[in-house]
Symmetry: C2
Subunit: 564 residues, 2 copies
């Protein structure tokens, strides 16, 4: 391929409305162009990268035994009514009325459509297991589409759906897909982690997310130095705390006139923040609850909501706090409430001794507080906090926090969709049985942006070779006037092709500085310069995208290096 026959349009200016580096660089490299909010055209350069990702995903799905098909993007309301998701999916579902006043949606995911396909195609256990997948355009009507293709409204997704007679077989395919995803992200050259996701009612290992690690990631991920344990912060657990120490102090009321936060109280008293307890007042259907976490910890809303009796809790109002504790916020605590209240203590709080809480009196806290002596043992002890960097992990390692971009999700759906849509097959005994289902998604277009977030420098994108639009750029100096340069570049291109290395010839005739800046910006992993001077010396100038210096090397060495 010759760049003069391609279409490339780069810009130096950083676009004003692009926050993320990947969005900025994709615009500057001319990979995408905005058509409207959350809608992007993929230019020829952008499409080359997108197709590279698609190809790796397709090959590994095929290798894993999944079978490709494709469903319509426009799907009838009736189908989505069968599962109740026409309403439940919410505002992200783009609803459409056709010329005959029939209602449809643009598929944001395809559980309904694939289950409808399956109930037409599958009637016997003999046809199971089967895993259907498609690589297709999806639409989610995001309220705030932003970050370019990272959170576009129209995007490319690989979605797979498997069908099984038994839960065990679903679990087997789930592991199979997990392994395929690991191969996909490994092949793409990405630094990633499989992370336990909060999977609602299903629990356990029935749902995992695959995250590309990047500082700009929207998700916070906890992993352990002691094993490959990793979990979304919503779900991550630290190890059980060490047993409670003995009480050594007497409970004392101290003046904290303006100190309303644990940080301020600890500073005033000269105590570590870890000695203080934060009291969070909430209301449930059964009444007032004080949730206690250590001063340096934060309540994890999902975990607290899962404690018995705490579903659908909300923060208490100031009036409710006054009525139950007789104090204004900032000085709350579990001792001296005006009415009987429920106390839910985090595991770490339950293991504390000689701690500090609010006195339920404006301007005062209590120090040296101890369970069982100054107040009853907590009725409920549970893990209700977010993990923090440095926590002990259950596997003996230490918890570390990183940020990630979710690019894949594997999920054991169970029979939710097959039962709602009355899809059964005859099992071995001749009885109608609703198959168990799994679903497995990959954000194909998002991977492109995520890869850039992880791989860039001040000069532009640095593609992992499997995603690069071309592996090598052969840059020609003065191509319009130098026949020898043309001949040498052509010959090199042929040799690279023979070696199975995808190369592009930059024959546009730009000044070297502008040409090199383009090639760096668009992230080509290897650059080779063919010049009159180099030819005279029998060398090419070679520079890897991440290298700081170029080197002059002979052809054999060049080919050896590029062959890797």
């Amino acid at each position: 391929m010759r760049l003069s026959q391609f279409h490339l349009r780069t810009t130096k200016e950083t676009p004003a409305d692009a926050e993320l580096v990947s969005h900025q660089l994709m615009l500057r490299a001319g990979m995408i162009r905005k058509l409207a909010a959350g809608l992007y055209t993929w230019s020829p350069l952008g499409l080359r990268v997108l197709r590279k990702v698609e190809t790796v995903v397709r090959e590994e799905m095929d290798n894993a035994g999944a079978i490709e098909m494709i469903m319509p993007t426009i799907q009838p309301r009736e189908l989505w009514e069968e599962t109740g998701r026409w309403e439940k999916f919410g505002g992200q579902l783009l609803k459409i009325t056709d010329r005959k006043e029939q209602q449809f949606c643009y598929s944001p995911t395809a559980e309904e459509a694939v289950t409808d396909f399956a109930r037409q195609e599958l009637s016997s256990y003999k046809q199971l297991p089967v895993n259907f997948y498609q690589i297709q355009t999806k639409f989610r009507d995001e309220i705030r589409p932003r970050f370019g293709v990272m959170r576009a409204r129209e995007f490319v997704m690989k979605d797979a759906y498997s069908f099984h007679i038994t839960d065990e077989d679903l679990a087997r395919e789930y592991r199979n897909m997990h392994a395929a995803y690991t191969r996909i992200f490994t092949r793409l050259g990405l630094d990633f982690r499989a992370v336990q996701a909060d999977s609602g009612a299903i629990g356990g290992d029935a749902s995992q997310e695959f995250h590309v690690l990047a500082e700009s990631g929207e998700d916070s991920i906890a992993f352990s130095t002691g094993s490959d344990y990793a979990a979304n912060v919503e779900k991550a657990q630290a190890a059980e705390p060490a047993p409670r120490g003995a009480a050594t102090e007497a409970m004392t009321k101290v003046a904290t006139p303006t100190q309303k936060t644990c940080e301020d109280v600890a500073a005033l008293l000269g105590l570590p923040l870890q000695r203080t307890v934060k009291s969070v007042a909430v209301m449930t259907e059964a009444g007032f609850v004080l949730a206690l976490v250590r001063g340096d910890h934060a309540v994890n809303e999902i975990k607290l909501g899962k404690v018995a009796g705490m579903a659908d809790y909300r923060l208490a109002t100031e009036a409710e706090i006054q009525a139950h504790l007789g104090s204004e916020p900032g000085f709350l605590g579990p001792i001296g409430a005006k009415q009987a209240i429920r106390v839910v203590a985090d595991r770490d709080v339950a293991a504390m001794a000689d701690f500090v809480v609010g006195a339920n009196e404006a301007g005062f806290h209590l120090t040296g507080v101890n369970w069982g002596r100054d107040l009853p043992e907590p009725e409920t002890v549970a893990d209700i906090r977010n993990v923090i960097e440095g926590d002990k992990a259950a596997d003996g390692g230490e918890i570390r926090l990183v940020r990630g971009i979710e690019v894949g999700h594997v999920f054991q759906l169970g029979r939710k969709y097959s039962e709602a849509m009355k899809f059964t097959v005859l099992d071995e005994t001749g009885k109608a049985a609703a198959p168990a289902m799994g679903c497995y998604g990959i954000g194909v277009s998002r991977i492109v942006a995520a890869a850039i977030e992880q791989n860039h420098d001040a000069n532009g994108i640095i593609w992992p070779v499997p995603m690069a639009p071309w592996t090598v750029a052969v840059c020609m100096i003065n191509p319009k006037n130098d026949a020898a340069v043309n001949a040498a570049a052509e010959q090199l291109l042929g040799e690279l092709q023979s070696a199975g290395i995808e190369a592009v010839l930059d024959d546009r005739g730009l000044r070297p500085g502008a040409m090199f800046a383009d090639i760096e910006l668009i992230g080509i992993p290897h650059r080779v310069v063919v010049s009159e001077r180099g030819l005279a010396a029998g060398t090419f100038e070679y520079r890897a995208r991440r290298a700081t210096e170029a080197e002059n090397i002979g052809r054999d060495e060049l080919l050896a290096r590029l062959r890797g």
Copy 2:
């Protein structure tokens, strides 16, 4: 690939609501499943064929220098307002309102989106010419979606758009695309014709359609035996008629009491139909017009509408006919009108002598009528008729009529879109110039159905090799119990793969009859049977899909035949 690891579901019953053979066979072969009216899921088998077509289209577009990109399917109203097509496109445009009450449509074609892309990307003549294409899902909200994927609402289209400084360069690219399309349909193994389409205001060769020839085609196409001339019947022209002969008869009024059609009059008088003239009464803004065509010809409405003064004509009412001709329909003619009327004569009518027309008197016709003697020479002579089978063509050949399915269209758009959307580039003189545009479409999913219309028999589909899901099916007899058959089939599969021949192993363990019926139904071009008996004899049973008999042949001959 092993069929036991694939998903195949065929049925014997012909679906009740499928009219076209291709629709019936695609359903029976399990290539597609209906999700809703005009919306089809492509099964794994169907998708294999669709991808084959896509691949050939992509390769030839790339070879022709077009550059692939991809635009959003959902496009903002504002863009379509710029060209006025938001209203003008009509009911086929699926309009959508998002959660912010912004309006969008699902792209049925992408002139607006690509022109918007181009005006962001292209600013100088140096970047031209360029031809962008995409292979993408489109939507047209058909009133009567039917015939399966032949006229689905959601479908796959390859659409390309080229940009040029000069009309000459547009014409060059148009020929380049014409040649690429010819290669595409040739490579796909289809019997097709490039046909001159009626191209409205642009005229000439600025628009051509590519049709797959099939009896079930919706379009009627005229071609000449004397050259590669072919045209849509709306546009096709016969050769100029031979010069008018001399008058030999006297004009005579004859009684035709119940004979109101040319056929009936000719039968009564014992004259060939070609001696009669049909008078069609129409009204224009300027008044009453009698259009004359030979009795065996039919008025071509598009051609008649293009005659000067005839735009927006309509058929005359009986009252208007009485007022101008003093007769009831069935006996009309150009002689003896009550008021001055305009006569538009088809070229063939103008060349007639001794002909028959209505007498403008109920129950009578005139015979032996001659121009210049019995009535004035016609004021307007033009080609206003449809060609018929057997017409002389301008190239000396004969006109033949066939039916076709439109699968491609090449079009010189000119500057309609670039001017409407204010897209200019700087030309060589530094002036802003609106580029000329071409557009080039291929109905990728429709090709699959069209190929079946052209290639099938009572047993099912007969794929041209380039579109076949697999080239060869290796059918195993008793695969579950016969290790020797398994080993031989595996070995053959390996040898075929080494020879670059795509084969599938039918290891499902069906009875031979059911297995062969499936393989014929889904249209695999070559079938090889591996059986214990064959192995004992050192032969395979081979049958080409179109052959009437199977043959037992040795391995070397088999491989030689399959290699073609």
